[in-house]
């Protein structure tokens, strides 16, 4: 399919500037990656409300918590690896536990980081954030959803984690899209199987459904951008309607979005589920597309797993 490509990250930077204008309490922090994370836009517009703490992610999370404790709406940003990996304990103890109003917006998540290799390819951020009480976890599908999600979370008190990608990604949504925290977006209806995707895999899920249609298989396609709180109703409803589920994520298959879906199915509506995601291995250097191929993040793999899930129905 011919997708219009656009980077998610400016969706964050632009939304942040809008928020800065609307709310004087909005502040932004960064750790020597203000260009890559696009928070430089906010720095330019509101220099007095921007803090670049240098290469010190743990300090950034602590300062963010302190700012939130004095009533500010805080956006802290760096690469997903250093936000959730390096500063996990600061996030847990100083942001999640006291339920402070810090929005962590991470960029460069996942294998599509490419050439930098395994040390920079964060496949476990959703897992780390998902297990924290009070934390909301969102993985937008494109530029537009990133923008809408950032605007939305600013109006919702409490800790929140949003992850975005490095690469340009297909545009799924336009201006009219309404993002709701905790509400998945049904992109396409179908009867035989539900493909529940997130992030830059949503476009691949849509393409897989098109291919399946040619073979007479009708697939429901869902963008499950809020990993937490889970959209239980969508998951149960999909299970009842289609009787088979495939989850698709650019994340370790352990404790990611697919696991979150599996937990709901196990508790309420057990049906066959197959998971497409990154196996439990570290990544490596390469081009984004090559790596997606090598690690099974492909349309073909989604199709294959959809067929297996259907075959597993009783």
């Amino acid at each position: 399919m011919d997708w219009e490509l656009k980077n998610m990250r400016p969706g964050f930077g632009e939304a942040l500037v809008e928020l800065g204008k609307k709310y004087p309490q909005v502040v932004a922090l960064n750790a020597d990656l203000s260009g890559s994370t696009t928070t430089a836009m906010f720095e330019k517009a509101y220099p007095e409300r921007f803090f670049n703490v240098g290469i010190a992610e743990q300090n950034m999370m602590g300062i963010s918590a302190g700012l939130a404790a004095t009533g500010h709406i805080v956006f802290a940003s760096t690469f997903a690896m250093f936000a959730t990996g390096r500063a996990y304990d600061q996030i847990r103890q100083s942001i999640a536990y006291p339920k402070l109003n810090v929005k962590i917006v991470a960029t460069h998540a996942g294998i599509t980081v490419g050439g930098d290799g395994a040390s920079h390819q964060m496949h476990e951020d959703l897992a780390l954030m998902r297990v924290l009480p009070h934390m909301k976890v969102i993985a937008p599908a494109d530029y537009m959803e990133t923008k809408k999600a950032v605007l939305k979370v600013a109006e919702t008190p409490g800790p929140c984690y949003i992850r975005t990608a490095r690469t340009n990604t297909p545009m799924i949504y336009d201006e009219d899209y309404k993002f709701r925290i905790g509400k998945a977006d049904i992109i396409k209806e179908g009867d035989d199987v539900t493909i529940i995707a997130m992030g830059l895999m949503v476009s691949k899920a849509i393409e897989a459904a098109e291919e399946l249609k040619k073979e007479g298989i009708s697939a429901r396609v869902v963008n499950n951008s809020t990993i937490k709180p889970r959209d239980k109703n969508m998951i149960i409803d999909s299970a009842r309607r289609t009787g088979a589920i495939v989850t698709v994520e650019e994340h370790n298959m352990i404790v990611g979005m697919g696991s979150a879906v599996a937990e709901v199915l196990a508790d309420y509506e057990p049906v066959p589920q197959r998971r497409v995601g990154i196996p439990d291995v570290f990544g490596e250097s390469g081009e984004s597309e090559e790596l997606m191929q090598a690690y099974g993040l492909t349309i073909e793999n989604i199709i294959e797993n959809a067929k297996i899930a259907i075959a597993m129905k009783r």
């Binding site: 290469i55 920079h120 490596e284 090598a294």
Partner: protein, 285 residues
């Protein structure tokens, strides 16, 4: 055959001629390999290459034919994004063929974007997340002490990198344990990604900070091979405390349009820029 620690300050003039030529060739490889990769970090590679070449060709006790020799000196590239400089020093010292440098960052290559000890011969430890290398170096030095081996440990840090708190936890530990087999080198190129260190998050005064943490500090020009050789020699003679070589450098050193440039921290030169860089560097590869 055990390798003896040699006195690399003996034939100084000869060494300097050799190093001058070798470091120019190394700079050519750095810009070529990053161009071929299409991404990577030229600025911090060019600022640290003189330090690396002096270490690997003159100072360190190591054996390319036996990269896991237990008595070898250890090396930690704490600022892992300068991997092109490390890979070049390794290739030019016989760990692998120079042409392999052009596979940097490509799928299946042994030369990952950031150093990986399980993939590249000669890489002693994996790095890439800033601020962690000095602790690794301390652990390696303590390991040598426990095993009664007399190897030394070298660790290159970035100046922006020392904003990480872990560096100071490690700085404290190194002097607490009186680790005199450890020599850290600070690549003081004045810049990090978003700007000059002093503008983003000031780290000065560096020398008194490390001295207060119990270190011996040697302040030198990090592109002067003689300065470097003498500083490493001095570090060997310091007993009971770790040494920091405060190496004053220029980011992007050797390529006019990369020198002091924020733009070339993490951007590959395109074909035109590569040609310009190679013509400035002179020499031939």
């Amino acid at each position: 055959m055990p390798i003896e620690r040699n006195d690399y300050t003996e034939n100084l003039e000869g060494s300097l001629v050799e190093l001058k030529e070798a470091s120019t060739e190394a700079r050519r490889w750095i810009v070529k390999m990053i161009n071929a990769a299409g991404s990577g970090h030229p600025g911090g590679s060019l600022s640290s290459i003189d330090i690396l070449m002096v270490l690997f060709t003159k100072v360190m006790k190591h054996d390319p034919a036996d990269p896991t020799w237990p008595d070898r000196d250890r090396f930690v590239l704490s600022k892992g994004h300068a991997s092109p400089a490390l890979y070049t020093a390794l290739a030019m010292n016989g760990y692998f063929d120079r042409t392999e440098l052009l596979t940097l960052r490509k799928m299946g290559s042994r030369l990952q974007g950031h150093p990986s000890m399980n993939k590249t011969p000669g890489v002693d430890i994996s790095t890439g997340s800033l601020g962690q290398g000095l602790s690794l170096a301390i652990g390696m030095a303590l390991g040598g002490r426990l095993d009664r081996r007399d190897y030394r440990v070298y660790c290159i840090m970035g100046d922006g990198e020392i904003q990480e708190g872990q560096i100071w936890e490690a700085a404290m530990a190194a002097s607490h344990y009186k680790i005199d087999s450890l020599c850290a080198i600070l690549d003081r190129n004045q810049l990090q990604i978003d700007g000059p260190t002093e503008k983003i998050m000031s780290i000065e005064p560096i020398q008194p900070k490390f001295e207060a943490f119990g270190w011996h500090v040697i302040n030198i020009n990090g592109h002067d091979h003689k300065d470097l050789l003498l500083a490493f020699k001095e570090a060997e003679s310091i007993k009971g405390k770790p040494t920091l070589i405060l190496a004053n450098t220029v980011k992007g050193k050797g390529v006019s349009f990369m020198e002091g440039s924020l733009n070339f921290h993490g951007k590959a030169p395109n074909e035109e820029e590569l040609e310009q860089a190679l013509s400035e560097l002179g020499g031939d590869v």
